[in-house]
Symmetry: C2
Subunit: 244 residues, 2 copies
């Protein structure tokens, strides 16, 4: 009798822990929804395990195994899996169980295409209603990118990429776009990690990003959108190439 997966003692196998706290509170939450229900806690743990690569794509996720591992019943596990299914991180088939989603290269292209469009409108919005605080945050992010790149710190670079991307989504004020971008960002995290192992890709990303920050500073929405598009298209090509 073997379990689907060993007990997990660490979730820092790759040295990167991306913060996903607060992820499963409803997008339209009409107030402080601090109370985390058990399925939500489980979902967050599972997200960490998946995006950090402990659970590999395609791996089956048995309900009883997970229930024993987390010392809960199957009910909450099922609900957590449903949550992750809607996030796209887990694929469920009726009577066949759940598994970590395995993206196809077509999925990858589609996801990057959607991210491009949504990041585009967020950047546009930011270019229209920018502020000194926004600008300094973007500049700080740009600096951090180049620092991490030159230091060859892949893990650190990835974290900064995630943070600055999510900052644009957050600062744009569009809750719907933000929610979707968070979700799609997580789905591509493991592939993005591999993209940034190539120094040239890090430099490309940092350079493209710098252009975006400048477009926002210049309060040029169209240029901001086009810059975002270039960034995501470049990243998409790199990701698809590595993925195949």
């Amino acid at each position: 009798m073997k379990h689907a997966q060993q007990p997990v003692t660490t979730n820092e196998r790759f040295g990167v822990r991306i913060d996903v706290a607060g992820t499963f509170s409803n997008s339209f939450a009409s107030g402080p929804n601090v109370i985390k229900t058990l399925p939500e806690q489980l979902a967050e743990k599972l997200v960490e395990l998946i995006i950090n690569g402990v659970f590999e794509p395609g791996q089956r996720l048995h309900e009883v195994g997970l229930a024993e591992q987390f010392s809960v019943s199957r009910g909450p596990v099922r609900e957590a899996l449903r949550l992750l299914e809607r996030e796209g991180l887990v694929t469920m088939a009726s009577r066949k169980g759940a598994a970590v989603t395995q993206l196809t290269s077509k999925n990858l292209r589609d996801i990057f295409s959607v991210r491009s469009a949504l990041m585009g409108i967020c950047a546009e919005e930011l270019a229209r209603h920018q502020s000194a605080e926004v600008q300094s945050t973007l500049d700080e992010g740009t600096r951090a990118l180049f620092v991490a790149h030159e230091a060859g710190d892949v893990a650190g670079f990835l974290v900064v990429v995630y943070q600055v991307s999510m900052y644009v989504a957050e600062a744009s004020g569009n809750e719907i776009a933000k929610s979707i971008l968070f979700s799609l960002g997580r789905q591509t995290l493991s592939i993005t990690r591999r993209v940034f192992e190539v120094p040239e890709h890090r430099l490309m990303w940092a350079t493209d990003w710098k252009e975006i920050a400048e477009a926002i500073r210049a309060e040029d929405p169209v240029r901001a959108r086009q810059s975002v598009r270039r960034l995501l298209d470049d990243t998409s090509k790199a990701a698809v190439a590595i993925y195949e």
Copy 2:
């Protein structure tokens, strides 16, 4: 002892039934996933009841009530509600239960903004890889729009609008964008219905749509995107105005 809602005898209160079949099969479904599990069936029924206005925004959705109403246990009902939560149609708060999501005007604007961006890339893609079949389908839709408009058939107009919009999403080939557009489209259905009660709004929509179809026929991606943007922006303004 009163239940939250009366037994539902009809789901055609507004004379419009929008087909939402196949909605809850996974976006990345890797094959014929015809087997519908009980929660999915429940979710589809609930979607119909919500978007057709039988369950009004803000209305509480008690698990036991729904369970009795549909003659199932609370388990499947819970999972169905979770599904709808991710769709944005219901809002759940821990220990407080579920309720039909009540959009704010800010939510409305954000949703239309996202729809605009995503429909934009779908139309772009369609303009690049169009075909005779695509063109005839678009033309047919345009004709149906004007027919329904002139006949004053609000319900019919709404159905055609939904169908042609979803066709663009479908035909673009971008599964991710399609999935999101389906979801967001449902969330705005009840408001869109009220928008189209105004004849001028119907004419506006039909006219804007005709322009999109022509841009796609002309294989002009940029023009197609801009036309889509105009359509959604116009609709957004009308919807927000009516909503307040």
